[in-house]
Symmetry: C2
Subunit: 246 residues, 2 copies
């Protein structure tokens, strides 16, 4: 009955300690761990005796089908995602393609996404209402990304930017800063966190104007404060109890 | 040197398995656990030999000062928050009030917030850009809450609603649905998750129109889909690869 199991597991930012206990227990009991090559390399030292199926970036559909097929062969499979399983993660694609594997029982295991782990590094930038916006236009039109940035800034929400840049998308963060500066002041408190949970983890508090000149990559998460966010030296704190900014 | 430690710890939705390994290890080595009464009751069975300082809801400032004073007396203190430490959590207030306790080293430990644990229960409602909006007007003006709801709906973002209602705030979720229906169709796929991570956990997929008539409380998290969100029976899945909806 319950032998055909596929877990979509958010492993958090990277280190074992930042996984949930549930995620670790599920990886421990899995026969097969499936994921993007970089994430498989992260967990392999913790679970060296598992079978691994890794596929490169962009190979998402293939990866999900391999995981579903493996589970359908009565193996317990974990498909791993960095951060959370559902925030820019694979849970949607798995549930969608899983319709063709009706005997496979699919469970989603949440994890700590970069908005939360990056916020903890920077102090307390979120605290109240915020939104997550990815700058990747691989599957979303740039016009819609721009519309979302403007909507969030106009409503004085803290904004967390995922995928700010990549080798193929140079200048995207700078472009996003230009759009935000149409609406919010250039001295707005901002922050950036890089390589969260890894040995070379770093974070920096800055302004929107300086953020425009800052280098970012796929392992960076960017935080745009709201009108209540303060720079306390090395940290970024958003106040509760909002002043009226309508 | 490092004897005056205060950790602000996100404990996740409630069960021990949904804590990160780091959060559990820090609670284990703490002398004192401080928190809202309900959350202290959740962790006391796991760590029965600790000293507990619990204060009721609304007593946030007092709770934080008690935690800081206890850490300043060279005790290792964990101030616990449900979900994440920084999402509608206490990390901001601790860092702010912590300025008066310069010898206390404050660290924020992230956890799985209800947007992520609720999404895992409902399937895959987030997947792409989304925002978190609290309906509590204790510290935020209702006009600003309404403005944020409209902005998020206009930009076709998935919306996660925290604190939809409480005993003192009846009818708030219904009011929010009315505002959203000015912009998005009444058959928009929505979901609600209740008592996540506890024995009486439940979730339901519905429409915006029906959500307006649905009861919610402080332990409910509400999900409003975007134009790409599907109802697959008992689940809510947001598609990647957005159609142009500008």
């Amino acid at each position: 009955m319950d032998s055909k199991k596929l877990y979509v597991v958010g492993i958090g930012p990277g280190s074992e300690e930042d996984m949930t206990i549930r995620a670790r227990n599920i990886l421990k009991k899995s026969d097969v761990i499936c994921g993007y090559t970089v994430y498989c390399d992260l967990v392999r030292p913790l679970f060296p005796d598992k079978e691994y199926i890794s596929t490169p970036m962009m190979g998402e559909e293939k990866r999900v089908l391999l995981a579903l097929k493996s589970a359908d062969e009565k193996r317990t499979v974990s498909l791993i995602c960095s951060g959370d399983a559902g925030v820019y993660g694979m849970s949607g694609l798995v549930l969608e393609l899983g319709k063709d594997f009706p005997e496979v029982d699919i469970k989603v295991i949440p994890g700590v996404t970069a908005a939360l782990s990056g916020a903890a590094l920077l102090g307390a930038p979120l605290i109240h209402d915020f939104c997550l916006i990815s700058l990747s236009d691989r599957l979303t039109k740039m016009e819609l990304i721009e519309k979302r940035l403007r909507a969030a800034a106009s409503a004085d929400m803290v904004i967390v930017i995922y995928n700010p840049e990549s080798r193929a998308r140079k200048g995207y963060l700078s472009h996003a800063c230009d759009i935000l500066m149409e609406i919010i002041p250039k001295d707005r408190v901002c922050g950036i966190a890089r390589n969260i949970g890894r040995s070379d983890e770093e974070s920096m508090v800055t302004t929107l104007e300086k953020l425009k000149e800052t280098k970012a990559d796929m392992f960076s998460t960017v935080f745009i404060g709201n009108s209540s966010t303060k720079n306390t030296g090395d940290m970024m704190i958003t106040m509760r109890g909002y002043k009226s900014e309508l």
